[in-house]
């Protein structure tokens, strides 16, 4: 009974810690022991696994938003600089 309670307590502590460090994990900003902590917890926790996967999908989508304006705005900026300086 006590062992089960302790295991649950440890699981919840790792859950909160993992949720707070998922970005660091994805960005490669965790040291190896902390990476392992995330991976071990995510192995047993479907919620953290789901959040991790969808965070990765979201970041991929955000990177794909990067776009270049069709027409440069530099000439307009330079015109204004010449007028006002």
């Amino acid at each position: 009974m006590i062992r089960r309670l302790l295991a649950k307590h440890r699981f919840m502590r790792d859950h909160r810690w993992t949720q707070a460090h998922l970005s660091d994990y994805i960005d490669g900003d965790l040291r190896s022991s902390d990476r392992q902590r995330v991976e071990e917890h995510a192995h047993w926790c479907p919620e953290c696994r789901r959040v991790l996967e969808s965070l990765r999908r979201t970041l991929k989508g955000l990177m794909e938003l990067r776009a270049t304006p069709g027409e440069s705005i530099a000439p307009g900026v330079i015109d204004r600089l010449r007028r006002e300086s």
């Binding site: 707070a20 998922l22 970005s23 660091d24 994805i26 960005d27 490669g28 900003d29 959040v51 969808s54 965070l55 999908r57 979201t58 970041l59 989508g61 955000l62 990177m63 794909e64 938003l65 990067r66 776009a67 270049t68 304006p69 069709g70 027409e71 440069s72 705005i73 530099a74 307009g76 900026v77 330079i78 204004r80 600089l81 006002e84 300086s85």
Partner: protein, 210 residues
């Protein structure tokens, strides 16, 4: 592993300092000349940076006219203050910091949700013809959901996300632009990512239900 930085286009790679090229030396020379009052050199800096800065500001403001105005104000302010640039940071992070502050001022003046100029149009987005029509339509909807989720973020969370995850600056560069310590920056970035993730998941769930 800095995922976004690693896969960033060449413009970003130069600014991330991964390659000290003739381009960066040329830019340093332009900055030196501009600091000495050479407006022609500053105009070349405008040509180098205006469009990327515009892309950042447009993502933050969500309005083309406002974004253009912010970029113009940013360069005017930068030109007037270029003598104060000491070269302790990269020129573009100094410039972006001015841009971020201009965007914040503009946001404070407006304080309403943008009503015009959706971002995902033919001017900025090139459809990937290799995708099947169904996949293209889904990708387009996902983009719109992401854009709406970004604009729903409070400004102080939207900016870190745009700088780091859309524009691909490194964490250190984006934190410098935001004038935040890395820990504070990462905390905001993580919360912004979780909020956008939740919005996108809602969108996907609704789409799959319909």
């Amino acid at each position: 592993m800095d995922v976004a930085a690693r896969s960033a286009p060449s413009w970003h790679r130069v600014h991330h300092g991964e390659a000290m090229t003739a381009g960066t030396n040329h830019e340093a020379d332009l900055v030196t000349r501009a600091r000495a009052g050479d407006r022609g050199a500053f105009e070349q800096l405008v040509r180098l940076h205006a469009d990327r800065l515009y892309a950042v500001v447009l993502r933050v403001s969500g309005d083309r006219h406002e974004a253009e105005e912010i970029v113009q104000e940013t360069f005017l302010r930068a030109w007037r203050n270029i003598a104060r640039f000491q070269g302790r940071s990269q020129f573009f992070t100094w410039l972006y910091r001015i841009g971020v502050n201009e965007a914040r001022r503009s946001h404070e003046r407006r304080r309403t949700r943008p009503q015009s100029a959706p971002l995902a149009d033919a001017e900025t987005q090139v459809p990937d013809e290799r995708q099947a029509p169904q996949a293209r339509a889904e990708a387009h909807e996902l983009r719109q959901a992401l854009e709406a989720a970004i604009l729903d973020l409070p400004l102080d969370y939207r900016m870190p996300l745009v700088l780091r995850d859309v524009e691909g600056l490194s964490t250190a560069q984006a934190a410098t632009v935001m004038e935040l310590g890395e820990a504070a920056f990462k905390s905001r970035l993580h919360r912004a990512r979780l909020a956008v993730r939740a919005a996108v998941e809602d969108f996907v769930a609704q789409r799959d239900d319909s």
